[in-house]
Symmetry: C2
Subunit: 255 residues, 2 copies
DNA sequence: CGACGCCTTGATCAACTTCAAATTTTGTGG
DNA sequence: CCACAAAATTTGAAGTTGATCAAGGCGTCG
């Protein structure tokens, strides 16, 4: 939030009831994430209550949702786009330690301060609300804590998968692993009807490097290599075609 | 559990009441972890119920508590010792993705299969019980889920710290980071009364290498280097003295 | 157009790995 | 307690991978 350029704060209006949506607040009624993520576990009344403290917004690439070591005072529900979580060392070295997609919730339930910065990788749509609002809800809805626990557990399993990647995989394997991971999280719409799988990489090369523990140059060279052996095709720098996803997975485990 | 040699299964006896310990089962009354970890949140009655399904045991180094991809059908509460969590690739490359100390609980609440193997790094004392027993308790004691959630969150923060280490730190920084981490988790008793901090490294060099994403040779060379610059002193291969912990932390962040 | 951001490519270099012993430590049986 | 074998650790020399340094190309936006 620190410097995120905002637009479209529909939630500033007083939420109204909508007879066609059985008491669901209007802000939520049209929301794609209404039935996913944490919102899916809430009753219309709870949704209404939460929406009173909610600000919907659009965040442009590179803008921050939260800063490392800052007080963890708000949460953001991702409605669309990709958020990168990163850690920075005193001398400027950086490592991306997580990627979050809709409908993930950015922010943790316990602990006073953020362990990492959260910033928009792509343009991101979010619903932001204060920590107190979520804490109140969690007390009311035990299911919610379970849902958040599941997300934390999923993130942990991912982080450990990446530890294996960072500790033991070659540059080629890392880039293939990354593309495979993005492929699995990409919107299947994008290649509906197309012969080969096609998707947009939500990160630029320097982000990919910071994610994979490599330099931009090495990442670039691995893209070139994967292109040369026919494992991928680059439509543009960001748009990739993968003729054989299984092949990509194989490369991600054995060079 | 798969091949852990066991001894001392006190829990096989029918738990009895002990008037000096207000209904706490005898197995638990003498347990050092009684008031820590998950047991700390349980009432004597719940403790009694849990202890009926519990087997206390000792596991020797290198023995497995759980295998990667195996059904996640039991949990182990660590009473003493260190457990390593590791992932293995098809070609034999290995990465340690977590270390657990008493009174951590090994095993996750959701998900059918283990994401990694868990094995004893040192000799380990555990209380093991079936998944069903914990699931039942969690439904009864909402606080318990919260406690487990906190542990998961702590493990996640740790895993991300290690991603930074694996992705961006030099060999020297990694070894210093590792020693600093172990120092913080070491039993303060060990150097009570001594002038300098002293502790036992719970892993052998090959484990350290698998944890740091290095080779044993490189780990060994870094130990030599840290010794030469006076950052550590090796009493034995496993026993380390750290004259200045802050110095070690500095090295862990800037070579 | 021209400047800037982003990406690619090439040449050189340093860090870490690999391969190969040597050395120390540990465990076992006499 | 010693002797011996096995395991773990250290050390050295050579080889690779990926980093660093240095241009150059491409696309976009004022």
């Amino acid at each position: 939030m620190e410097d995120g350029k905002r637009s479209g704060s529909a939630a500033q209006e007083t939420p109204r009831r909508d007879i066609h949506n059985s008491d669901v607040p209007v802000v939520c009624a049209s929301c794609e994430a209404r039935h996913r993520g944490i919102c899916g576990t809430l009753s219309p009344a709870q949704l209404l209550e939460l929406s009173k403290h909610t600000a919907k917004g659009v965040i442009s690439p590179e803008a921050k949702l939260a800063l490392e070591d800052d007080p963890a005072d708000h949460y953001s529900n991702i409605l669309k786009g990709v958020v990168k979580l990163s850690k920075l060392m005193a001398d400027g070295r950086q490592q991306i330690v997580g990627l979050q997609f809709a409908p993930d919730l950015v922010g943790k339930l316990f602990g006073e301060r953020n362990d990492f910065a959260a910033e928009a990788a792509t343009e991101v749509q979010v619903c932001t609300f204060p920590r107190s609002a979520l804490e109140r809800l969690v007390k009311e809805v035990p299911e919610l804590e379970q849902r958040l626990h599941r997300q934390t557990q999923r993130e942990l399993a991912e982080a450990r998968e990446w530890m294996l990647m960072l500790g033991r995989k070659s540059a080629t394997e890392r880039v293939a692993s990354f593309l495979y991971f993005i492929a699995l999280h990409s919107d299947p719409e994008q290649d509906a009807g197309k012969k080969v799988m096609q998707f947009e990489i939500p990160l630029k090369r320097s982000d990919i490097a910071d994610f994979l523990g490599l330099t931009i140059e090495t990442v670039s060279r691995q893209f070139t290599k994967l292109r040369q052996i026919g494992a991928i095709r680059l439509v543009t720098n960001r748009l990739v075609e993968v003729p054989d996803l299984e092949r990509l997975r194989e490369i991600s485990e054995s060079g």
